[in-house]
């Protein structure tokens, strides 16, 4: 009995310790971000690996999610004789929820895990240590640009996902199922609000980008510097990103659309 309690206590303590270290770490990264304005090249390089390389998976997933939404939405809406609202349904689902959330999950799996593995390996092969001894702060030189690139790339990826998804829904709804094209777009434009829906979606994706990048770089920097430690850290990045994004999504949705 006491053994179980002790284990629970230990787990809680180590959880809070990690949490605290994570926050200190975040402060250190944020301190390094303004310096990046002087060296935009560092961020551009990382935008390539975080953003450009994630593009394919985002575009393909967005297209298919949009197409599935078109099919499923049509079947449900047609029962109520409201098939013209398909555009609204597809656009709202994507812009408010699926765009930011699914992009963040894919981002965690594609870019986040890669970031963690890269930083973890740099730690394991003493590259970070070596940089420190060359009087270069790895937090500023290595971590901060990756973090900044993640925060910048996420909303762009989410916007691309949503836009492609709407196009996918259009293909299925208008092209395949014969929903009226005019009604598809006009109903969508009438019901989707720039501030309430699009802007809130963008805010969500920025928040997710912040959290996902933070988790990815922290797990990499905090990884046990062995190949096993790095692989564990990579797994943790994917799992923690998914949990954090979904949890945060609930909180943000409640704040934005709860009224």
């Amino acid at each position: 009995m006491t053994g179980g309690l002790a284990r629970l206590g230990r787990a809680a303590l180590s959880f809070f310790e990690r949490l605290g270290r994570g926050h200190l770490f975040l402060l250190q990264i944020l301190a390094g971000v303004p310096g990046l304005l002087l060296r935009p090249r560092l961020v551009i390089q990382q935008l390539y690996s975080v953003g450009v390389l994630s593009l394919v998976i985002i575009v393909v997933s967005g297209l298919f999610v949009g197409m599935v939404l078109g099919l499923q939405g049509y079947n449900t809406l047609a029962d109520f004789g409201a098939a013209e609202s398909l555009g609204v349904m597809v656009a709202l689902s994507l812009v408010r929820e699926l765009g930011p959330v699914v992009t963040a999950l894919l981002f965690g799996g594609r870019a986040g895990s890669a970031l963690t593995a890269e930083i973890g390996l740099m730690k394991a092969t003493e590259q970070l240590s070596g940089m420190e001894m060359m009087a270069v702060d790895p937090l500023r030189r290595v971590i901060a640009p990756r973090f900044a690139a993640g925060v910048i790339a996420m909303p762009l990826l989410a916007a691309i996902f949503s836009a492609i998804g709407v196009v996918g829904g259009y293909f299925v709804g208008v092209g395949l199922l014969g929903v009226d094209e005019g009604a598809f777009w006009s109903q969508m434009q009438a019901r989707v609000d720039l501030y309430d829906d699009v802007m809130n979606g963008v805010i969500k994706s920025v928040a997710f980008g912040f959290v996902a990048s933070w988790i990815a770089v922290y797990e990499g920097y905090d990884a046990v510097p062995t190949s096993e430690g790095v692989s564990r850290a990579t797994t943790r990045t994917v799992v923690h990103t998914a949990l954090a994004v979904l949890g945060l999504d609930f909180v943000l949705t409640a704040l934005m659309f709860g009224e």
């Binding site: 551009i44 935008l47 762009l156 990826l157 916007a159 709407v166 699009v198």
Partner: protein
Amino acid sequence: MKQSTTTEIMVGVFVALGFAALFMLAMKVSNISALNDQDGYEVQVYFENAGGLKVRSPVTVAGVRVGRVAAIGFDDQLFEAVVTLKLNPGVKLPADSSASIFTSGLLGEQYVALEPGGAETNLKEGDRITLSQSALILEQVIGRVLFSKASEGVSK
């Protein structure tokens, strides 16, 4: 050197794509016209019952959207709903226009429809529309129908 320029071009393409997507979401998917709602003038309408009207619901004249609902409040003197309408600057309506709350379709959202009157002067900022017709509450309509049917039966 060559390799880093390709990187830069790819990143440029990526950022451009992202902004294009945002632009499309703003222009094609959402009602960008909402941006212009900042200007315009406000008038007030009192309704006995505001029904399911919401802030940002459309305001129409002859089926054309001319503004939106800016605020919905409650007047504790008259015990009526105070609805503030924000009308687009170009919209000129006679001062004795009337307002009604309608529902678009059976299950659609509610909106405020304005019916132009015949007065010489136009509505301006801070004016009050006096003629109003409240929202149609489905339960009341059904209740009324049932009541009249029932009274028909009694009279027979």
